[in-house]
């Protein structure tokens, strides 16, 4: 009850204290300046008020250049100081640590849909472990939303058609409000949820309890179902670049430019493949606009991000499935009528490796051999 009445909201992330420190400093500075100006105005007004019967003669004071210079430069110096302080915090907020836990968030009118890399999905609830940096990758299915957690002092607009990132490091267990801060229509103020910060052990238990197929594995299914594998295969007849180890690399494009292969690049290449064509390849890929919803896109991108050397699925279904050891067997169903060579209608997966270079997915073996 007392916490509710306090002036500052609860601090539950690593950056919250820094933001509050800047706020309290500026509050003190603002208060001092406002008080100073007020005292001067009221003081002058009273001291120099016109007294009854007195002559209203006033001195002819036109100004003072040194005072003007003084009260222009002193604020300027203070302003630059505030700028630097604020910018430092902002840049910290803009750079997620490399070891951050990645979670995907899709906003739509008027709910938040959360996808964990291990496959758990939740709505308007986000479970995270205490103490570990968490990086959210966010997008919207319709209009612009904004993911705002006051206790973490974090906020980011969630736009349709692209990915934004925000990260935080929870420092206290508990449930903290998520609000949508960008007006998004009728039920905008009802578009809210909670972040549940759990002890790491509890979080692990929660993850295991609610396991489904991991995002990467779900993405792999899509990769096969949509027949991406037909062209993006690892053999010499491939019609499109291999996607192994692509994420985070610079890619050379036709026309001499280069682009960083991040989430937004992968997304664009799936939805608008002609926009950035990789050097040395033909622009033959069809668009997948309209065939994939935002959640499918996240799965596909999670799969591409997870692709290590030699992990591209083979085009023959004689291959052994790269099933992660920790995840229960999930039969990989090829769609009927797929174009893979030697296709059979068997719903089960053959366990014999067909290609010698095949390796288990990331985490199962150290390093793949050269194909």
């Amino acid at each position: 009850m007392f916490a509710q009445m306090s002036f500052l909201p609860e601090q539950a992330s690593a950056v919250a204290g820094k933001v509050d420190a800047l706020f309290l400093f500026l509050l003190a500075l603002t208060g001092a300046v406002a008080l100073g100006v007020t005292v001067l105005i009221i003081g002058f007004a009273i001291r120099y008020r016109r007294r009854p019967g007195a002559e209203p003669a006033t001195p002819r004071i036109m100004g003072s250049t040194w005072m003007e210079v003084l009260w222009s430069t002193v604020p300027m110096v203070i302003f630059v100081g505030i700028f630097v302080w604020g910018a430092q915090i902002y840049l910290t907020m803009a750079q997620p640590p490399d070891d951050a836990l990645e979670i995907y968030v899709v906003g739509k009118q008027w709910m938040w849909k959360i996808q964990h890399p291990q496959g758990q999905r939740e709505i308007n609830e986000l479970h995270v472990p205490l103490g570990r940096p968490v990086k959210l990758t966010l997008t919207s299915e319709d209009v612009i939303h904004d993911f705002f957690v006051p206790a973490f002092r974090t906020k980011i607009d969630v736009l349709p058609g692209r990915y934004e990132h925000v990260w935080f490091q929870p420092t206290k267990t508990g449930r903290y409000r998520i609000y949508c801060a960008q007006y998004c229509g009728t039920n905008h103020s009802g578009m809210k949820g909670y972040v549940d910060v759990m002890e790491p052990a509890d979080f692990d238990a929660w993850l295991n309890n609610r396991a489904e197929g991991s995002l990467a594995l779900e993405g792999r299914k899509l990769f096969l179902k949509l027949q991406c594998i037909t062209c993006h295969s690892a053999n010499s007849r491939a019609k499109a670049p291999v996607l192994e180890n692509l994420y985070g690399q610079m890619v050379s494009l036709r026309g001499g430019q280069a682009v960083l292969a991040d989430d937004n690049y992968l997304r664009e290449s799936i939805l608008a493949p002609q926009a950035k064509v990789v050097l040395g390849w033909e622009p033959i890929m069809p668009t997948f606009q309209g065939q994939l919803d935002e959640e499918d896109l996240i799965k596909l991108i999670a799969f591409i991000k997870s692709l290590g050397p030699g992990q591209t699925p083979v085009r023959t279904e004689d291959a052994e499935p790269p099933i992660a050891p920790s995840i229960p067997t999930s039969p990989l169903l090829l769609p009927p009528g797929n174009a893979l060579p030697n296709s059979e209608s068997s719903p089960t997966i053959r366990q014999t490796p067909a290609v010698p270079s095949y390796t288990l997915p990331r985490g199962a073996v150290e390093k793949a051999g050269p194909p």
């Binding site: 002036f7 909201p9 950056v15 820094k18 933001v19 800047l22 706020f23 500026l26 603002t30 300046v33 406002a34 100006v37 001067l40 002058f44 007004a45 120099y48 008020r49 016109r50 019967g53 002559e55 209203p56 003669a57 006033t58 002819r60 036109m62 100004g63 003072s64 005072m67 003007e68 009260w71 222009s72 604020p75 300027m76 302003f79 505030i82 604020g86 910018a87 430092q88 915090i89 902002y90 910290t92 907020m93 803009a94 319709d142 209009v143 705002f148 006051p150 906020k155 736009l159 349709p160 934004e164 609000y179 801060a181 960008q182 007006y183 998004c184 229509g185 039920n187 905008h188 009802g190």
Partner: protein
């Protein structure tokens, strides 16, 4: 009607006109509806604007009243979510585009600018009348939209919500705002040309009253920024009507493009709103402390500096919108730069009081209130411009409170100061001084009570445009609504006693404040052509100390 022109005329030398001519003024020169609707007299057009804008202020204020009443309870018990969204949209659209942007230029600027530069009218009198008709077309259209069902996009029209998702009459609302924008452009053009071409002999640039300087700077912004607003709103309409992809990513558009273009107008628009207010304060502070303005050139160039810098800070509305960190850094730094000229003005007004002979008439009370509220509003702007802090308070009630401090605490206070200051000149009547002082105090107190709680709400995380909110925010919301009810009383008072003074007010005489400006050297109300004789100016605008020295103790009119 034996009033004589104040004996001291430091910057003009019109011979006192014969008494017979003094009885004919712009109000009684002709009668009939047609003589008003077809007038090209800047003073009559100012009154047309005064009536129309007051009506818009009342409608926008009623929307605000319903908003505050709805927020008395966390569950939004007064209106439905859709109605609430339409209410805050109506409040924002009316108050920003149809009241705050035009109010001081079109009412007080229109009335005073030709008088202050010693001209018979603006450069293009018929363009001036056209601006009112264009404004009225927009105003009629927006009122039709609001009363026939409303629009629920907020005054910011963010895409793709406005271009795709909203099911309300967005396109007519956009058209209405484009009309209002063209009215601004007409006024701005007229002011710029008038200041260049119609100054009286001897009225050099550095003898211009600071209100004229600020109107000039405002006009430059109106002329350069408003076309961008028109363009971006038309593009939203194009996308909405014909599905041509501009802002909607599903059509290969870019939603951030809208925000860049919108704020490229709408940030400078903040200065369209506040700069003329600053000009009024310079007039009032000098008059009621009987002093020259401290640092005339610094105050004048601060207006120009604000006008220029205002074009370079728009993306500070987008620190969490998904722009790059580098562009955020640049726009944060530039935002601090624009704070400097504002600070210069505050310090100069304060220094002007030093060794003055200060009286506390209503305009002065409003002006002093302005300095306090504007200073506090500006200082909270420093918090918003600090990147790391902006992330937390962005799109919360902290922002709401900040810009209401600037626009209402600043601009509306300044407008009230100016309206009371020039009321005797406009109408020839004095308003009841005691009621004026009471209104100034009530508005100041009501304002503080309304908006200080909103700063706290914002920092605690209450987001703007909330129809419902979490229960822990209720206490502060009730406080804010209570303050708003005081504020409403404060605004109702001038409406009442100013109208009363039209009929019962004491005759003002040409110069009730013993002010030095040219507008006070002609009868109140002024004759149709302003001056009987072309005024000639031979000194600066605020020579109150010379005037006092010459006139001795008899100077003040009260």
């Amino acid at each position: 009607m034996s009033s004589v022109i104040a004996p001291y005329r430091p910057q003009s030398a019109p011979e006192p006109a014969p008494v017979s001519q003094l009885d004919v003024n712009y109000l009684n020169a002709s009668y009939g509806v047609k003589s008003w609707l077809l007038t090209t007299d800047h003073k009559r057009i100012a009154l047309l604007y005064l009536v129309s804008l007051s009506l818009m202020f009342i409608i926008g204020g009623l929307a605000a009243t319903l908003i505050r009443l709805n927020l008395l309870t966390p569950t939004g018990s007064l209106v439905t979510a859709d109605t609430y969204n339409k209410l805050f949209s109506a409040h924002g659209i009316i108050m920003v585009f149809f009241f705050l942007v035009p109010v001081v230029p079109s009412v007080l600027g229109n009335f005073c600018l030709p008088l202050m530069i010693g001209a018979r009218d603006l450069a293009f009198p018929r363009l001036n009348l056209a601006s009112w008709y264009v404004y009225m077309t927009g105003a009629a259209l927006i009122l039709w939209v609001i009363f026939s069902g409303g629009v629920d996009t907020g005054w910011t029209f963010y895409t793709p919500f406005s271009s795709k998702a909203s099911h309300t009459d967005v396109v007519p609302a956009l058209v209405a705002i484009v009309f209002a924008g063209f009215s601004s452009i007409f006024t701005g053009l007229n002011f710029i040309v008038s200041v260049h071409r119609l100054r009286a002999p001897g009225m050099t640039w550095f003898r211009l009253p600071l209100f004229v300087w600020s109107l000039y700077a405002t006009s430059v912004i109106m002329l350069l920024a408003t076309p961008v607003l028109a363009a971006v709103l038309i593009l939203v309409g194009v996308e909405r009507l014909w599905g041509i992809g501009i802002f909607d990513p599903a059509l290969d558009g870019d939603p951030l493009l809208f925000q860049h273009l919108f704020w490229f107008y709408s940030h400078p628009a903040v200065y369209i709103m506040i700069l003329p207010g600053m000009g009024i304060i310079s007039e009032v502070i000098t008059c009621f402390s009987r002093k020259n303005i401290f640092g005339y050139k610094f105050v004048a160039f601060a207006s120009v500096g604000i006008a220029v810098l205002s074009f370079l800070v728009w993306a500070h509305h987008m620190f969490v919108a998904g722009q790059s960190a580098y562009s955020a850094l640049i726009f944060s730094l530039l935002s601090y730069l624009v704070g400097v000229p504002s600070a210069i003005k505050v310090f100069n007004w304060t220094a002007t009081l030093y060794k003055g002979s200060v009286t506390f008439h209503t305009p002065m009370l409003f002006a002093l209130g302005f300095i306090g509220l504007f200073t506090f509003g500006g200082l909270t702007g420093l918090m918003l411009a600090a990147l790391g802090l902006n992330v937390h308070v962005h799109d919360t009630y902290f922002v709401i409170a900040h810009f209401h401090f600037i626009m209402v605490g600043g601009m509306v206070m300044a407008y009230m100061a100016g309206l009371h200051y020039w009321w005797p000149k406009i109408t020839g009547r004095l308003y009841p001084e005691m009621w004026g002082r009471v209104a100034a105090m009530i508005i100041f107190i009501g304002f503080i009570l309304t908006f200080i709680p909103q700063f706290v709400l914002g920092y605690q995380g209450m987001v703007r445009r909330s129809h419902v909110y979490d229960p822990q925010f209720q206490v502060l919301n009730v406080l804010s609504t209570a303050g708003a009810s005081i504020l409403a009383v404060g605004y109702a008072l001038p409406l009442t006693y100013l109208i009363y003074s039209l009929f019962r007010g004491k005759k003002a005489g040409p110069n009730p404040w013993s002010a030095t400006g040219l507008e006070w050297q002609t009868p109140s109300p002024p004759p149709t052509h302003n001056f009987a004789v072309q005024p000639v100016v031979d000194c600066g605008p605020y020579e109150y100390s010379l005037q006092s020295a010459e006139l001795g103790a008899d100077v003040h009119g009260n």
